[in-house]
């Protein structure tokens, strides 16, 4: 398969097969042609985690395909892709803000995430919060761990109150 193939407007499922090899590597078969080990890249990892997925060769990083949506894959391929993406991206999503306190020079967040409860320590608060879009932020703690913060309006009152203190 030559060059970058882009299928932006296809409605029927792709002739793409994604699967994990015995070694745990994600491999792809495109149009019947085995492509070897591949890597999935989310073009918009926070706002569109299941859309616009770039399928690239693992060794050279060359783009083989840009998947508009994981839903357009066959079920088995989709499961393999979801699993691979989960392995690739370690960005917990904050589901509840228990507290945001200032202790000495440090801000301490106690949060519940989809990875379980966690504490974030931040020395410079405003430098650790990046807005991605309206109502969506990336919070980076002093250790460099990244957390996604979104859907505040769907969180409980306590979470919203805590965010209001600094937001």
């Amino acid at each position: 398969m030559n060059g970058n193939l882009v299928f932006m407007n296809r409605s029927k499922p792709y002739e793409v097969m994604l699967y994990h090899s015995r070694e745990g590597y994600l491999k792809a078969v495109l149009g019947g042609e085995p492509m070897g080990r591949v890597k999935l890249v989310r073009c918009f990892p926070y706002s569109l985690p299941d859309r616009l997925i770039s399928v690239r060769t693992a060794d050279t990083g060359k783009e083989l395909l840009l998947l508009p949506s994981l839903d357009q894959l066959e079920e088995e391929s989709r499961i393999a892709a979801v699993m691979e993406l989960e392995r690739e991206y370690t960005i917990p999503r904050i589901e509840r803000i228990v507290s945001i306190r200032k202790k000495g020079p440090e801000w301490i967040w106690s949060v519940e995430t989809d990875y379980g409860p966690s504490m974030l320590h931040m020395s410079i608060l405003h430098e650790g919060i990046h807005s991605l879009a309206d109502g969506r932020w990336i919070v980076t703690d002093d250790d460099g761990r990244r957390f996604e913060l979104s859907n505040l309006d769907r969180m409980d009152q306590r979470s919203r109150d805590q965010w209001e203190k600094i937001g």
């Binding site: 890597k39 690239r56 370690t90």
Partner: protein
Amino acid sequence: MAYGKAGRGGGRRKAVEPTDGERTGGDGAAAALRQRLADGWLRLGADINEARQFQRYELVFTDREAAVIDEQGRLQRRFPKGTIDEIELREGVAGGALVLLTRDGMREAARFTLPHLEAYRIAMPRIAAWLEEPLPVPGGAAPQPPAPGSDAAGASPSAPSGREPHAAPQAGAPQKLPPRVRRGAAQAAAPRGAAVSAEPQGAAEPSRACRVCGKRLWHRRTKCLRCSNKYLMVRRILAYAQPHRRLMIASGVLLLFSIAFELIPTYLMKLLIDNFTEGGSRSALLWLIVAMAAVHLIGTGVSMARSFIGLRFGGRLMGDIRKHAFDAILKLSMSYFDRRQVSQFISRVQNDTEELKQFLTEGFIQFLSQVLLAVGVLGLLFYLNAPLTWMILIPVPFLALGFLWIWPRIRILWYSQWMSVMNVNNVIGESLQGIRVIKAFAQERREKQRFAQANDTLVKRMISMGNLWMSVSPLFSLVIAAFGLLVWYAGGKSVLGGGMTLGSLTAYASYLVMFFGPLQAFGASLNMINRVMGSAERIFELMDAKSDTPDRPDAVQLESAQGEIRFDGVRYGYDKSRAVLKDLNLTIRPGEMIGLVGPSGAGKSTLINLVCRFYDPDAGSITLDGIDLRDIAQESLRARIGVVLQETFLFDGTIAQNIAYGRKDASPESIIEAARTAGAHGFICGLPEGYETQVGERGHRLSGGEKQRIAIARAVLLDPEILILDEATASVDTETERAIQEALARLVKGRTTIAIAHRLSTLRGADRLIVLEQGRIAETGTHDELYRSKGTYWRLVESQKQMTESEVG
């Protein structure tokens, strides 16, 4: 990175879950295992368990196995060394995993967030060496674990918590990796520096006259300060309160109440004392005390209500003024900014608006309350003892004269202090903007001296200001004290003579303090009013500044454009005495690509600045599709023009937001398409957060070429009819230039394009080259035509060839 085993021994066991005995340490084998784990040669921390939940644990390597141990020291999983074929560190976005390839397939030994990653990276060569070593023979001497202390990972137990410092990467020689190492596709982008360039701006200001008095305006002023009417200024400041008049009226009413409540207690005190001295009743005493308590209580309530209203009122006012000031800044033309230091505007928008707010919320009310209080007190003083009151009014004219003397001096001092503050801010702003140049030229000491100078001046001016106040204020106090003594003497005589009660004298003395208090406070108010006037002047100067390129009321909204640009006798100079472009006549056809060539200062950038209508020509006209640019609404004109400059400015935000800067409603798909056309999609996908990578001042550092491609993507997405490329490939290497050239070639198709490039080879694809020399068109033609004619273009090409050869040679 992955490490494989060279030779595979027999008798392998698969990865095993610990038995109950191993978990609890209940038998001999378990005790031996526990001992081995305690002696493990490497311990690495991790914080995400198999269920993808946060849980701290350790991955411990012994001579026989790798084992996962939880925070309580319990064994969770064990991977006998004999079962492991390969070990791979898989780095993902914001985390990673250590993966073991066993006979039964892939097993995740540890998963972790970013803080742990570096320790794993450092440990990988040691782990690989460990995997290569043969298993210890039972009963034989245990093999030496990989040399401790040679790197950080092997030396210490890893952090059980992400809060502890990371293992530092080994300095010096790179780690030698075993031959069977495979590296993953993920590559860390090396930090790259960005070139800094500064454009000289030596524009002179046109002389202007005040429309009112006809006199010449002061240097760098757009408004005549001689004619600035303070009354009008105050009215203009108060106009900001107009939309919030209800709050202001409420505040005023409460103010009257609070003044009344301030005056009443003293009068009640007079009644109280008279009640004692003139044999009053117990019930009158009780009622007076109750009345005083009630007055204090209500007074406190009124004061609180006023504060709440003041806060709301002030916040809104501040927002309004700041918004107007910022709107005014964005409305100004480029030439306004060419002549000014940009950092001063931050102070104007922030500090000066704060001053105005202070005046409107507190200062004005305070001033009014002082006036009302003084009038009220004066009335009561006359009521209590008219002859004495006439006497104490004697110093008032002298105090007034004192204020009149001090007023202009304070104004000047305030202004000079503000200038000093601005100077300090400018030095800081300039130093931060040029920090690379300062460091590159080792000019830190010079900059420190420059700052120290500015700072010293500020300190001196603050001291001068303080000195003036310190010398005047005690004099006022002395005068007031002297008249206080006079009252006690004259009033005392009156009490002894039976002309006045003791209560009246006490109340009189208290009211006198209340009368002189506001008079003294007028000084502080005066001070504040001076400050506010200065702030208001600066803010209004900004708001009143006229744009040099205003939109006409009947300006045409350009919905689309063919792209024909015609220069007709255009003359322009930043300094009006020195024209940069002289009598320029040029027609660019729709869809034509023009390359602008010429030595520095020939007017190339000025020409494109005029096309963008950053400036208007001093003579002649520029038309787009036959319409004079001055007749086109600027926003609609610039929406038709895409610009790629040498220095690309990226705003704080994601790459996607930067690409979609000109089209907020762009879909993610169209953003990707634009990036693909610009040749940027590849490197963007290589970034961990893809199109949602933060860039700009606080974000990811991109190389000059990468920034440039984002700028091109921005232009592609805008899909403009006219394209301007100003040295778009000047700051990148040849390889990147080629990539950008390819992207540009796709971009210019079907668009009227004006390109400037120093490297003449990059303009070969142009339909026509215009050679500018000293503001005039010297030659026109294609590359071949101009080269053959052996004129200016030929000289430029030849000198560039020679330079390239001498560089290569």
